[in-house]
Amino acid sequence: MLFNSFDFAIFLPLVFLLYWFICQKKLKLQNALIVCSSYVFYGWWDWRFLSLILFSTVVDYTIGQRLRNEEQQTIRKVLLWSSIIVNLGFLGFFKYYNFFLENFVDAFSLFGMQINANSLNIILPIGISFYTFQTLSYTIDVYRKKIEPTKDFIAFSAFVCFFPQLVAGPIERATNLLPQFYKKRTFEYHKAIDGMRQILFGLFKKVVIADNCAEYANQIFNNSADMNGSTLVLGAIFFTFQIYGDFSGYSDIAIGISRLFGFDLKQNFATPYFSRDIAEFWRRWHISLSTWFRDYLYIPLGGSRGGTWMKVRNTFVIFLISGFWHGANWTFIIWGALNAIYFLPLLLSNNNRKNLGIVAEGKLVPSFRDLISMVSTFTLTSLAWIFFRAENIQHAINYLSIIFSKSLFTVPYYTGMEKTMLLILIFVVIEWVGREDSFAIESLKNIFNPIIRWSIYIILIILIVLYKGEESEFIYFQF
């Protein structure tokens, strides 16, 4: 079920009413409703994969229970690794089996050995990368004794399959989300209104920005060989905004919906395109994934405590794995590597934690220096996105070679893009104004005149309806 679909427009109010009117008195009933509705939500795509979620839930719940009473370190480790192997095993099979198979075959053929291996027609279960990481975080935290293992199977199931963030995050930590399933939830008016506001802005990002940008990004990337350099630059910019609007829009809707049900999810994006360096970008982009890798991979590997070599190694490991997490294609790995290369100079010069605050905080416009830093970071990021979007590495290289040719200084081919560019400009201004809040239009709550507030909502809805692009799935579903 897509958030921007008619089905969901029926589903959400129905679950909301049942949740607050029928199940309100019993916490267990509310949690059970969340589990049932989440399974309906997920099963709408493909009910067969519900068994995977259920299996993963049972495995991690059981391992959690065993870890509760187990003091012997060897057995605790075995239990932890069992969870990791089961979860990553599923992920590996569904997402990476064909990739590894094809690459092994190719590698052997380089040495003149022909191997007959048939790739399988595997359907990737939607959201598997997200809920796998979420359940893993639970087991690891229980193993580290950061969290008490839950005895409540329904609450744990709800934590694993909570429908607002099940298929595309934010990837929640057990330490943050699970305890919320234990506490009685009461309806909070201001929280719900805030949630509605965030949903509205999320829809705007997805439907107006991402889907409109997608139209041109797809056209340009799919026909890049016939385009000139300046058009390809536009294509890269359109994709840069498409992926941001798409993914952060989804996160906003997910966080907003969670608020309607009384939950607080962590912020997943913090205006990343206003970052002044690549380190800041990664503190602001897909925060739930970046911090997951930081806490469960980077720090256990030694983080930045060791020597230079270890810092460099760990940085590359994190970025390469992060790239590979996004998809079984070399393009994602190169994208990760590029980001590591961008990051390295900052790390080596100890400047990776230089820009921790909000750019031009309390000011209307940034300083010239900040502006240049933001534009440079945006350019580097956009160039890296070319690898992310390209069909294969050759496509990306060809794309870049056309950009860096004389045709960069010719007039772009496409006409009719003005509308989308204007929408991007409006979006950037809104984001800039709201960059100090957890989402851009959060501060509307401070406007006390309801006529002005409602007029702004109506204008946003009109923009959504009038400039709605071709309906498409959220990009991150494929990860």
Partner: protein, 307 residues
């Protein structure tokens, strides 16, 4: 909770009221100049042109792909090109034509390939505009499936009337205007223009809709009852788009054959080289128009449709 629900209901009601008010507003100045308004002139041609006539029915593959005068001169028959836009939906095009049919008329139907997949046959936003702004009474004649198909376009249609650009600073479109058609109903303003850059069509992913064939069959029966004959011609289609959708096109060809329709030519015959396309996979440059017209004349003659 009560306050929240009340606020949401009030907001929804306010929004629906705005929608309703906008829905009832007349066509904007910009919309009044759109090619959809050519329907009035085309209906008048259907009413007033003397029979027997060759009537072309389809989407923009016909309006942007035929030189009717050449066909008329070659076959010595009155010709009406009723085509405007594929998004009006094949069902409405056929319903709108059948009421004007006279004995001896020949109807040449050339549906776009998309009409056989998904709900395209029932129409989209353009149908909503036609039945609310051009042929108002037709709104009440829409079938359930047509209403369901256009329903989702109501918000966009209504709110478009709040767009200031619909009232000020707009220019009549150079090709998609009510004045872009010649006396036979062909769009001719692009005949002197150069090719524009556009992407080839995406692969059709929607499910095959068997109801399209059923609707065409009903149309054939109704025409037969009025003493008219139906022929089907494949649309002109950009070669690169054609190749992407070959499987879907073959399926259509198979189904049309299975239902014993009188078919002119083959899909491959109307697979047009990319260099002859104008601005979409169905719109032809003048050179392409000449080629397609020539092919159609040959097909019409081969099938002894006219002298």
């Amino acid at each position: 909770m009560k306050k929240f629900i009340l606020k949401i209901i009030s907001f929804v009601l306010l929004f629906l009221t705005i929608l309703l008010i906008c829905f009832t507003l007349p066509a904007t100045p910009r919309a009044s100049k759109s090619l959809l308004f050519s329907n009035v002139k085309k209906d008048s041609l259907l009413k007033n042109t003397i029979s027997p006539r060759l009537i072309l029915v389809g989407g923009s593959n016909l309006s942007f792909g035929i030189d009717s005068e050449t066909i008329k001169d070659s076959l010595n028959i009155n010709l009406i090109n009723t085509a405007i836009h594929a998004n009006i939906g094949l069902q409405y095009m056929m319903d709108n034509t059948v009421k004007h049919i006279k004995e001896g008329d020949i109807v040449l139907l050339s549906p776009e390939y998309n009409h056989f997949y998904g709900s395209y046959v029932y129409g989209r936003g353009e149908l909503l505009r036609i039945v609310t702004q051009v042929n108002f009474l037709d709104f009440f004649k829409l079938t359930k499936k047509q209403i369901l198909s256009v329903f989702k376009y109501i918000p966009k249609y209504s709110l478009s009337k709040l767009n200031p650009l619909e009232y000020i600073g707009f220019r009549e479109h150079d090709i998609y205007s009510v004045n872009s058609f010649n006396e036979y109903g062909d769009v001719y303003t692009h005949w002197s223009m150069k090719q524009r850059v556009f992407p080839s069509a995406n692969k059709i992913k929607k499910r095959y809709n068997p109801n399209t064939i059923k609707l065409i069959n009903d149309f054939r029966i109704e025409l037969g009852e009025k003493g008219s004959n139906l022929f089907i011609s494949y649309p002109c289609y950009q070669a690169s788009s054609f190749d992407k959708n070959i499987k879907q096109i073959k399926k259509i060809q198979k189904e049309l054959k299975k239902n014993n329709f009188k078919i002119l030519g083959t899909p491959e015959r109307y697979r047009i080289d990319d260099s002859l396309m104008f601005n979409t996979p169905y719109h032809l440059l003048k050179k392409g128009v000449n080629l397609r017209t020539k092919l159609l004349i040959e097909d019409l003659k081969t099938n002894s449709i006219t002298n």
